[in-house]
């Protein structure tokens, strides 16, 4: 008998056949990443949780439309991206885009790991808050979620060149803000 780990495509196939428990297992693997992505986009824990539930419900309803189960992650984050920006549009008057200062980190206390001082987390939160929403989302998808450029392009529905442009512009800003701060903090 050969044992192997149950992978996402296995769970997706079971969920497609109506196996809710398999889908719950799939959720448990992805809920933390989706929640944190949304938290950093919308800036409110309650909203992030509500949106996360909506994302997983929508994903379950549209699971039959997922062509390649191996591409589940970018497909799921595409739904999350759409849900987040849909909620922005509902909350704001028509035509008004997401403002530059509307960043999650401003409303929530910075959570740092024991290895890093709280000041560093606050500095990061502040630096991220200075980015444009598109640039910040590119940083979140690349640095915190570890997606490849092609996957980011799929999630954001734009060319890879646009993704790179947003990310590298943001990186220049962050480098100016954080690299000197880090060196001052360490020394």
């Amino acid at each position: 008998m050969i044992f192997r780990a149950v992978e996402d495509p296995d769970l997706i196939r079971k969920a497609r056949r109506g196996d809710v428990e398999a889908y719950n297992l799939l959720i448990s693997r992805w809920e933390k990443r989706v929640y944190n992505y949304l938290l950093r986009i919308v800036g409110d824990r309650e909203d992030a949780l509500d949106l996360s539930q909506d994302v997983f419900l929508k994903a379950y309803q549209n699971l039959q439309k997922l062509d390649d189960p191996a591409r589940f992650a970018p497909w799921l984050f595409r739904i999350a991206h759409n849900e987040a920006f849909s909620s922005f549009r509902k909350r704001r008057p028509e035509g008004e885009t997401v403002p530059q200062s509307d960043f999650a980190g401003e409303d929530i206390p910075a959570s740092a790991s024991p290895a890093f001082p709280i000041e560093l987390s606050i500095a990061v939160t502040t630096a991220l808050g200075k980015l444009h929403a598109d640039q910040r989302e590119a940083v979140i998808l690349k640095i915190y979620q570890g997606f490849k450029f092609e996957e980011m392009a799929e999630i954001l529905s734009c060319p890879v060149s646009t993704v790179k442009s947003r990310l590298y512009t943001a990186l220049d800003v962050l480098k100016t803000q954080l690299a000197p701060a880090k060196s001052r903090g360490v020394t």
Binding site: V20, S28, E31, A112, A115, I143
Partner: protein, 199 residues
Amino acid sequence: MSCSPFDLRDYLFDELAEENRRQVDQHVRSCGTCHEELERLRITQTTLLALREEEVPQRIGFVSDKVFEPSGVRRVWQTFWGSAPRLGFASAAMLSVALMFFTFFRQAPAVASVAAPDTLRIEAQVAARVNTAVERAVAESEARQASKTAALLAAAEQRFESQRLADMLNVEQRLTVLQKHYNVRENLMARYEPPREMK
């Protein structure tokens, strides 16, 4: 400003091919400016990662409610259409059933009794028409052959008669020539007859 052969940010995010990555490695070891730039990028990345992910305040999950689950029929239907071999087997099975149904439940005697006279009558009609057509075709063929033969015979007779007349004319001409030769010879003989005293 970096003088690296490839973008240091692509290198940082592991978006370069292995060969290109090696080239950047070599360059960074020998170039102080690029080494410093790469260090700054790494510090930036590490600093950003100081912001750790939060735990989900409440687990997300769905309960298995019969109202929201697809019905058994729908699930079977989806499963059925989702499997090509099963679909193929089902099609073959349906075809077999259809063939067996028509084999055993077809009203063969009734069809035979009704169809037999018609078939015989039609066969007789067809045979008669075929015979008539064959006879007509043979007669026409024979007539064509006879006319061709007659024409050939007439042509041959005509050629023979012409040849005969030509030959007779030729013989007559030769006879005329011989006759003339003979006359000439007679005249000459008569003209040069030797005197009687010499005899």
